[in-house]
């Protein structure tokens, strides 16, 4: 209970979740159909629906009819009738059985389509972690939103870095759990240009309901590659750090003061932080590096020891970029933010480096 009340202190995050795409072309029961699987799912769903409706009306209709016709009233008596009829029992067991076999066979056929990847599929690596998605493309690009090419089959090679997640795109009618400790696979052939929602649909902890992103289906390969492209070599360390932060850290940390699963990372540089064991620690370059490589040793007071280590997962350049970015979130420290000569030059020339860097590459997410 005390823990429950403590949770009141942890306010909502400002989410890096992209806005929900517009809802269009839906039917009463389904979102728009954007992959070949819609033909494996939607018609069969409707078949089961209509058969069920017929049976339901039959059942409830008879029930209401009998209740009215045979209701107890003065002069009404129970009429003689049989209390068993084996032929009827067999009939109403076996005949629906044929319908069930139909549903099973049709469902199994659709299932095999949905689970057997065609040979010419491109492969995209999917990394699921609490609480964001990461996609790695064949050309080496990496994004937190998914970008696909219309009519190109794609196989997702999926892994989780922590707990169970599940990859679900309603418009594609496809779903597959992402399991830590092994790879799971699924595939899709998107048929319609547009933007669709991708949800995590296996409960994974605090921000499960914010572990969602968008899938954009592009008409051509070139458009897709342009969308996923990010020039790490040309960009400033702060911008690279920001992109990396969004991909690897934003699930648990806000780039503001607002705490989430982990502390908010704005305005922390140069601060004296109290750790869980009561000691005090200055937030500086070494504390920052240690927090990435050996986080459990210096957890901030009030937070659970659940940050995973990035030892071996981030190289020195990446750590450098992240440091630049996090440092830039504390006002007054930008000028020191890494051998950041490019940003320093731009700051000096335009007087406002952040605006320039924000607009230039904001499409690549």
């Amino acid at each position: 209970m005390l823990n429950f009340i403590n949770l009141l202190a942890q306010a909502e995050s400002e989410s890096l979740v992209p806005a929900a795409p517009p809802v269009k072309d839906q039917t009463y029961w389904f979102p728009e159909a954007a992959s070949t699987f819609a033909k494996d799912v939607d018609p069969l769903f409707m078949l089961i629906f209509w058969v069920s409706l017929v049976f339901f009306i039959g059942i409830v209709g008879s029930m209401i009819y009998f209740v009215i016709k045979y209701r107890d009233r003065p002069g009404h008596k129970v009429q003689k009738s049989s209390s068993h009829n084996t032929a009827l029992e067999i009939a109403w067991s076996v005949l629906p059985g044929f319908l069930l076999i139909w549903f099973f066979v049709d469902g199994a056929r659709g299932f095999f389509n949905m689970r057997v990847t065609p040979d010419n599929a491109e492969q995209i690596q999917v990394i699921a972690r609490q609480f964001n998605w990461e996609f790695h493309y064949p050309n080496g690009d990496a994004t937190t939103e998914l970008h696909l090419v219309r009519n190109r089959p794609v196989e997702f090679v999926m892994e989780s870095r922590d707990v169970l997640h599940s990859f679900f795109v309603p418009a594609f009618r496809q779903k597959q759990d992402v399991v830590p400790g092994r790879y799971t696979y699924t595939w899709v052939k998107p048929t319609k240009e547009g933007v669709y929602r991708l949800y995590c649909t296996e409960y994974c902890g605090d921000s499960h309901s914010l572990m969602k992103t968008n899938v954009t289906v592009h008409n051509t390969s070139e458009e897709r590659d342009a969308a996923t492209y990010y020039p790490w070599e040309d960009e400033t360390p702060i911008n690279n750090g920001k992109r990396l932060f969004n991909m690897k850290c934003s699930g648990c940390h806000n780039a503001s003061d607002v705490p989430k699963t982990g502390p908010g990372l704005a305005n922390i540089w140069g601060k004296e932080e109290t750790l869980a064991d009561g000691t005090k620690r200055l937030v500086d370059d070494n504390y920052f590096r240690n927090s990435l490589l050996n986080p459990g040793s210096e957890i901030v007071a009030g937070y659970a020891n659940q940050m995973p280590s990035f030892q071996g997962k981030l190289n020195d350049d990446q750590i450098f970029w992240l440091r630049a970015y996090i440092k830039s979130l504390t006002p007054g420290t930008e000028a020191e933010a890494g051998a950041d000569t490019k940003a320093a030059e731009e700051t000096n020339s335009d007087g406002d480096s952040s605006e320039k860097t924000d607009t230039s590459k904001s499409d690549a997410k």
């Binding site: 059942i59 129970v78 209390s83």
Partner: protein, 567 residues
């Protein structure tokens, strides 16, 4: 004494010499061995669990009125849905009908004076109390945010009170096992000689089939939860991939119990409905042996389908195919019951009193619940629907529209027997209607938003789903009011209800051949056997304002047993 006075004592209303006042004081209840008192204590306990978990449901549905934050953080919301599920499943639904109704009615339906093991019965009740206390301890310390399904690895790494909660479920499991064992032995050994298997009321058949599941399946949950605790504490490496374990193995172990568990929830409910439909049509149940066999078939087939909860888990496609195929087979015996109930209504004489309203409501709601199972058993549609609100709607239709509805119907049906008082039928039916309407408003929109892609266990959601959530939240409050009215009407009847005799509706099973409330030993006369669905064997006696067995009218001088001694 005169024949009339004797008949009144045996079959009429009993102000004195009934089990409620045969002994007094709190200790005579807490240490009772009387199955009727244990049943009532169970009823109080599971009702409290229903209301607590129900409040959590209203809290979480209120948060979901809009898709943004209202008054719960995500972490708090996660605790609400977890505790709602865990308390409902383990402390309410599984024990409810066997514990509250089964305990009271089963021995009496057999003409027996108690269950085979009265002390084990009391032990079952106290295990329920201790298990629930552990669940409450989890709630009051670090809370619980794993979902009632405790999937790994999250349940291994979360800092919430997983160990208290799993120990609670473990202890509750033993409560269930002991009840099952007790009922099994009672039915096997304590029937009168003349009561063969096919002379048993169908409620008994359903409790027997349930007992088989309770005994065989529950230990698997027990060991699974112990292994989960061992993983959390000692990192034995069975479910946690960080130590070489397999998270999907947990799912297999968990669902191997939890699928049969849902048949523990529904079989007794279907047994109640068989009784209600037949009594309130005043007509012999149609297809007795098919209904009886279908209960056993459901119990056995229910052990073979657990993988249908795991079609997207990463289990192999082959095994997925097999589970889907067998899942369809379980649909048939359930449908058979529904058709037989309808055939029972045909040419009957139907009384639309409160219990019958619940029984008809069951056919409607369980009909939808069962039919929507077809969408989920079908593989291609399930890939889309799994872990969406479609599943949430399906299982609430069968558990609330099924089990809770049958529990309420059964309580109304047997209440006059238990307390010797008649409920207010108008308020009873108002409650039934509000439950029916509120329930449909709450859960039908969830089918639509599920197939449109709304995932489960989401504290926040995209704007396109808002209208469905709002309808659902309003419905939840209507449902809550309906359930409250249903319970208040029952409680009111205990103190202010019109006094009634032993058999106000002319039912023919043996529990009605006793006073209302029954005496301590249940039957103070020699039982006359009759077919439990032969309503022509019952005759309305004007003077006593109750039905009596025709046999007894013909031979009024049945011997009376001596006064029972106090507990």
């Amino acid at each position: 004494m005169s024949a009339t006075a004797q008949a009144q004592k045996l079959f009429g209303h009993a102000d004195e010499n009934n089990f409620l006042n045969s002994s007094k004081g709190i200790k005579s209840w807490l240490f009772t061995l009387d199955h009727k008192r244990i049943g009532i204590m169970y009823l109080i306990g599971v009702s409290a669990a229903l209301f607590l978990a129900g409040i959590f449901a209203l809290v979480l549905r209120s948060e979901l009125f809009t898709g943004d934050e209202n008054f719960l953080t995500e972490a708090q919301y996660n605790q609400m849905f977890t505790l709602h599920g865990a308390i409902m499943v383990f402390a309410f639904i599984i024990p409810s009908i066997p514990g509250a109704l089964g305990n009271f009615v089963l021995p009496m339906m057999l003409g027996a004076k108690d269950v085979a093991f009265p002390r084990l019965n009391l032990c079952s009740f106290y295990l329920w109390v201790f298990g629930t206390a552990f669940l409450l301890t989890a709630m009051l310390t670090n809370g619980l945010d794993t979902g009632w399904t405790f999937y790994t690895p999250y349940s291994i790494t979360t800092t919430t009170a997983v160990i208290y909660a799993t120990l609670g479920a473990f202890i509750l499991g033993f409560s269930s096992i002991f009840t099952g064992l007790n009922f099994l032995v009672t039915v096997n050994t304590m029937r009168p000689k003349a009561m063969g298997w096919f002379k048993l009321p169908l409620f008994i058949w359903s409790l027997y089939a349930t007992a088989i599941i309770q005994i065989l399946a529950t230990p698997v949950l027990g060991i699974t939860l112990l292994l989960l605790i061992a993983e959390r504490v000692m990192h034995i490496g069975i479910f946690d991939p960080a130590y070489g374990g397999d998270p999907v193995l947990f799912q297999h172990f968990f669902w191997f119990y939890s699928h049969p568990a849902v048949y523990i929830m529904i079989l007794p409910a279907m047994g109640v409905i068989s009784e209600l439909i037949s009594v309130y049509s005043h007509k012999k149940i149609f297809g007795y042996s098919f209904i009886a066999f279908s209960s056993v078939a459901i119990a056995l087939l229910g052990f073979l389908v657990w993988g249908h909860h795991m079609f997207t888990s990463g289990q192999s496609p082959l095994v997925t195919l097999v589970f889907s195929a067998i899942t369809f087979s379980v649909a048939i015996p359930s449908a058979v019951k529904v058709f037989n109930w309808l055939a029972t209504l045909y040419k009957g004489s139907i009384k639309l009193v409160t219990p019958m309203c619940y029984a008809l409501s069951f056919i409607f709601l369980f009909g939808i619940g069962g039919l929507t199972g077809l969408f989920l058993g079908t593989l291609s549609t399930d890939i889309h629907l799994h872990d969406t609100y479609f599943v949430v709607a399906h299982f609430h239709f069968v558990m609330v529209g099924g089990t809770l509805t049958a529990l309420l119907g059964g309580l109304y049906h047997w209440w006059p027997k238990m307390f010797g008082r008649m409920y207010n039928d108008l308020w009873g039916r108002i409650g039934c209607f509000l439950v029916f309407a509120g329930f449909n408003l709450t859960f039908f929109p969830q089918f639509v938003m599920g197939s449109r892609g709304m995932p489960r266990r989401y504290a926040r959601y995209d704007p396109e789903f808002e209208i469905f959530h709002q309808a659902s939240t309003i419905g939840a409050f209507v449902l809550g009011i309906g359930i409250l009215i249903a319970f208040v009407t029952l409680v009111h009847a205990v103190f202010y209800g019109k006094k009634v005799g032993g058999n106000p509706f002319g039912a023919a099973s043996l529990e009605w051949q006793s006073s209302s409330p029954p005496s301590f030993h249940n039957f103070d006369h020699k039982i006359h056997m009759n077919d439990p669905y032969d309503f022509s064997a019952m005759v309305y006696d004007e003077e006593m304002d109750t039905y009596v067995q025709r046999d007894f009218i013909d031979k009024p001088t049945a011997p009376v047993v001596p006064e029972p001694s106090k507990v």
